[in-house]
Amino acid sequence: MAESAAVARSPIAPTPPVAIENGWEVSARRSAADLRITDCTPLTKLLVLGPEGGVFGIPFGRAERDEEGVLVAGSGPGEWTLFGPPGTGEGLAGRAAAALPPDEGAVFDLTHGRAAMRITGPAAAAALARVCAVDLAGEVSPDGAAFRSSVAKVVTDVVRDDIDSQLSYLMHCDRAFGQYLFDALLDAGAEFDIEVDGFAGPGI
């Protein structure tokens, strides 16, 4: 990328040291703590609206990775959120549009309009339960569960997306609430010694 290229910034202030990753300013801090929080805002985030019943074969409430590693979450009735690596918005939007029936539905790139973050570690459910009323027990919210609810009073989309069988929740909310939600989750995780872990591509 040329020196003069624009740098995208998350609404969440990066914890030093700061680096540039795929055109985004990110924290390059690395943590191996038991409970970690990562600002995942650089991820490509698409909202797809289409006929209820499953454009991608994924119902409301479930999330799965497609053959190219894109995380497709059924985030509402007739509504899907697609998470891809940073900088893949255009190609992903084209693929999403192609999956819709002709003249039906819409695709929106919300990458710069939403803040995304992930908390990972064995205590992730206990920390999240401090600020979210939805039952996070394994049988109610298993790996691949997707829902929208109030998290620390912010309307937040939550996807349980375990990493290498480690408990992990990927969340996104309106960009303006990003720093607040991040701070609220740091606060909720304080008793579990949560640490900031910087974003590293592809990140999904």
Partner: protein
């Protein structure tokens, strides 16, 4: 805390919802008198008992739905998506029944 069963999302804290109001039948604009319109707009039965009302799941699926709730005990005996009929009653635009999104729904 009061739990409301959303037909899409399951039971959630009532703070996630917006109360829309009692379900009322929209009069026929061709024949309704001023008195009938006034009743439609302002008069509610407000029972101490079972009532049928509409709610909007603001912090969840962003859909309207219909609930039968007991106003004294807050017990809920039915919760369902609005019937197609709802388009001509409390929801003339059919916002609650179809794929349209409600006035409170943001893009994401």
């Amino acid at each position: 805390m009061m739990l409301l069963p959303c037909p899409h999302c399951g039971p959630r804290n009532s703070s996630e919802f917006r109360y829309v109001g009692e379900g009322t039948a929209r009069p026929d604009p061709g024949t309704a008198t001023i008195g009938v319109w006034r009743d439609y707009l302002y008069t509610r039965s407000n029972p101490a008992g079972w009532t049928t009302e509409n709610w909007f799941h603001r912090a969840g699926c962003r859909r309207y739905f219909t609930v039968e709730r007991h106003t004294v005990s807050n017990a809920v005996r039915a919760s369902h998506r609005p019937a197609a009929q709802a388009r001509t009653t409390s929801d003339p635009e059919g916002l609650s029944a179809g794929t349209e999104r409600g006035p409170d729904a943001g893009p994401g």
